[in-house]
Amino acid sequence: MPMASLEETPPLSPVLLLGMAARPLPPAVVEAVLRQALRRVQAGHPEVFARLRPLGDTAFLIDPVDVPFKAVVRPGAQPPALCVVRDDQPAPAAAVVISGALATLTDLLQGRADGDALFFSRDLAIEGDTEAALTLRNALDGADIDVFEIMLAVLGPLAGPARRLARPGRTLLRGLRDDMGRVQAALTAPLARRCAAQAAELAALEDQVGELRRRLHQRPARTRSG
């Protein structure tokens, strides 16, 4: 069933709700945290940034569609640069736009998901400079970046309590995500059935139109005009 685009309708998930709750946060706070994380990735994985250096000042707009912020990153710049804006504010110009759910983007960053597969399934959208996007994807895929450990390190003295909360938190989030998926499926099921029926009717009509066109093309011109 054709769905609305990632940009228009992010998937129903705990991240979406948490993102709504995070909306009052000033972008500067999110930016400070992400800059710290970027510095830690840079320190821990210099080979990634060496591979990205040919990108120079190329800017990537990273748009986690279920979070009310988006980031513009220049990973090939010296030093790498990052800024965060709200999703309803104009972002600085970027050569590449990469959009997807936060969990999808995180999996991609950690090499846990295959970028091509996410692109085929339309869970990941790319616009702009495809070569730069591919360079970034391939460089990140080769590194073992652990986003969870990096975010814990950014928390400093709060890392210990955060780590203790993480395991039950992850289980809770996973359960919530599954539950919300079921709720979403239940709510949209009647619509999905109707759309599937309409899609089948449309496909049958397209086949008929195609067949009619083929027959029309096969007929001699004189017969067609007469």
Partner: protein, 334 residues
């Protein structure tokens, strides 16, 4: 007439990066294939492939686990500039590669003359699809294995294996190329660059994705490849996977975006006498390598125990266009 092989085929797996190589080795590859970071291999994509240090380290990692390393040097050097291709063959030999995968007759001659003990495999890029061609490469350059084109049926592969003494390798999973490989000019036509000389089909530098009217538009050079509605699976932006209007109808004239998955055909593939099965996808991430190699290792081990491997559908999500095919293997028409 040579006896048919009955043993379990080797599993040959893609390694686009050192991380993918480690993933393939850990998932149970019998051999990995890789390329150097230049136009000497047919996956010359930005950020992919190995420099000399990574290659040597990769050979150590693979050999420590009993996994072989094949180096793909399978593009055709431009006239008068074979230097980088010669260097690649020399590096593969010096670095401990178990075989080089070559397509160009000049490179085959160079490797056979300079490194006679280095095993030579004929790349699919050479498009050797009949016994006479295969025998020529075997007799002229001592080729030990031929990677067969993806356009042959199981019956044709079995018939070929009865006629030749050289080992054959066939594709089991991944992207499909339905053209005469090494001779396809579609990418050159659209972008000026081709997999045959530049090592890249539909280079990313010529690909643009745009969103317009609720559709994703894929462009390759000056050509619109496809317009895909939201929620509809996508494929690679190559001309051969494009949707065109002809005879008043819109459709995929050459090939639909789909991936080969022959896991359900493994007993039949083994029965053709093919010595090795290849997983396509050096351009894919290590998550792909882990899952595909793991699934095929499990299936081949099941086959070795006399069981019939069954696809559990876990690889479906990794396929192009989210669709699987058995390709030409069961094709009943020519």
């Amino acid at each position: 007439m040579p006896a048919m092989h009955t043993e379990i085929p080797e599993l040959i797996c893609p390694a686009g990066t050192p991380a993918a190589l480690r993933a393939a080795v850990e998932a149970g590859a019998d051999a990995v294939y890789l390329g150097f970071r230049d136009a000497t291999n047919a996956r010359n994509f930005p950020g992919l492939n190995f420099d000399e240090g990574e290659f040597r380290e990769g050979v150590d990692v693979a050999h420590a686990r009993g996994c072989k390393v094949f180096v793909a040097i399978n593009t055709f050097p431009p006239a008068g500039r074979p230097g980088p291709w010669h260097d690649a063959v020399d590096l593969a030999a010096k670095g401990g590669a178990d075989a080089v995968i070559l397509a160009d007759v000049g490179m085959l001659d160079y490797a056979a003359t300079r490194h006679p003990t280095l095993r030579r495999h004929l790349s699919v890029q050479a498009s050797a699809s009949n016994a006479e061609a295969i025998r020529f490469y075997q007799e002229a350059f001592g080729v030990a294995r031929v990677v067969l084109p993806r356009v042959l049926t199981l019956a044709e592969i079995a018939a070929l294996n009865r006629q030749v003494t050289v080992e054959t390798e066939i594709f089991a999973f991944g992207g499909l190329c339905v053209m005469a490989e090494g001779r396809c000019a579609l990418s050159s036509y659209a972008t000026g660059q081709s997999p045959n000389t530049n090592g890249v089909c539909s280079p990313a530098s010529h690909v643009r994705y745009e969103r317009r009217d609720g559709k994703q538009i894929s462009r390759l050079g000056a050509f619109t490849i496809d317009k895909i509605a939201d929620g509809t699976p996508a494929g690679y932006p190559t001309l051969c996977k494009g949707r065109f209007v002809a005879g008043g109808c819109s459709g995929h004239l050459f090939e639909e975006p789909t991936s080969l998955d022959a896991i359900g055909l493994l007993p039949k593939l083994a029965a053709t006498g093919a010595r090795a099965l290849k997983i396509e996808g050096r351009q894919r991430g290590r998550a792909y390598v882990t899952r595909v190699v793991g699934a095929y290792r499990k299936a081949l081990d099941a086959l070795a125990r006399g069981e019939t491997p069954v696809s559990d559908g876990t690889l479906d999500a990794l396929t192009e266009g989210q669709r699987q095919t058995t390709g030409a293997y069961l094709k009943s028409w020519q």
